[in-house]
Symmetry: C2
Subunit: 210 residues, 2 copies
DNA sequence: GTCTATATCTTGATAGAC
DNA sequence: GTCTATCAAGATATAGAC
């Protein structure tokens, strides 16, 4: 039952429906404010104002600021498409995986809220590290093979973290204005070089077909 | 006049000397606390306790939390050694430049304080972007030459930001435990590949001496 | 020079009217 | 279900004793 449908039919939304909608409005507003200012500087009052509701209503729905933040940053980690990538397309898959949430209008605020708070809010740090970065690195490393796999995966992941942070959160001019195609074009060779088998590999298992 | 010297001679420190010392102690404590928890979660009380002085004394010396933070993160940008690097050693110079403050016990807390607060504290963001990253990128780009110079420099700089952030602030296991020599060994080829002249270069001015 | 005491403000959270 | 009113805690910053 959509709002437009109601307006056309004149039907009244049920109480449960009204409640669900105000909760969604609050959550959307909270995600935006968290994304803009981070956890600490975000106030319940500011969230309520943005959502057009009373501050007490925010507490009624989410019980605490901590749980509101958890709800606003939930599911930031998309279903990973890093498993089915062949080795050649691995860096490309990792690159796209890093940009995807920030280029998707639906996910952008969620991702930004989590990332912006990650350096100062312990709960956000834990989620980013344990639920996002480490799993991604594990899946990347699983596709690699050489003895430096874990470290290479971590470096690739951290580099991409730096790029999206600089572009979307720090607003570093050269990166914020850049075309995403140019970023891909320049980054891909570098990421490929990072993943390439290094000299120190086990001689019994010569690296790839170099 | 050192403390040890005074103890040996029994000389009394002057008032100005006592003041200078308590100010230094406060500044050191502030830098540490800012580095650990960021600007917002750092309280004047916590700084005073860490320094072993009264909270009011902190205000007496630095007037405001904002100015205390500015003093604690001042001079984070070291005199750049990126100008005299030849093109071949450029990525190596940039890499070392990124790690240096975090590997120097004297500078570590300063750098961490600035970086940790940069995503949530506007003043810290401005310093990191305008006084640290943009100048570094400008100097890197000046040594490059091709038409993507600015973007390549920005990407290299942002990647290193991500690596040091993941290693020193987020404590991503694979990176935090890694030997810095391994990080250099794996990163250098990737950074070199990033700076390499790309295919799209102006045909009238073939890139470097490749 | 240093500290006690406190003013002033803002926060998250709660209680109760309607 | 929503809002008014308010609490308790903690923050920066100040004033003044010593």
């Amino acid at each position: 039952m959509t709002e437009a449908h109601e307006a056309a039919t004149g039907a009244q939304p049920t109480r449960a429906e009204r409640r669900r909608r105000s909760e969604a409005a609050i959550l959307k507003a909270a995600t935006t404010v968290f994304a803009e200012t981070g956890y600490d500087r975000t106030t319940i009052r500011a969230v309520a104002q943005r959502a057009g509701v009373d501050p007490a209503l925010v507490m009624q729905h989410f019980a605490s600021k901590e749980r509101l933040f958890a709800a606003a940053t939930e599911q930031t980690v998309p279903t990973d498409s890093l498993l089915d990538a062949d080795i050649d397309g691995l860096s490309e898959a990792a690159l796209d995986h890093a940009f995807a949430p920030f280029e998707d209008p639906e996910l952008r605020a969620q991702a930004e809220a989590l990332l912006r708070s990650s350096l100062t809010h312990p709960a956000a740090l834990k989620v980013l590290r344990d639920d996002v970065m480490v799993p991604v690195q594990t899946r990347l490393a699983a596709n690699l093979g050489d003895q430096d796999a874990a470290l290479k995966a971590a470096l690739l992941n951290a580099s991409m973290l730096g790029v999206v942070t600089a572009r979307y959160l720090l607003d570093i001019p050269a990166l914020a204005e850049a075309d995403i195609g140019d970023l891909r074009r320049l980054l891909l060779p570098a990421l490929d070089a990072l993943l390439e088998t290094s000299d120190r590999d086990d001689p019994a298992r010569p690296g790839g077909e170099s």
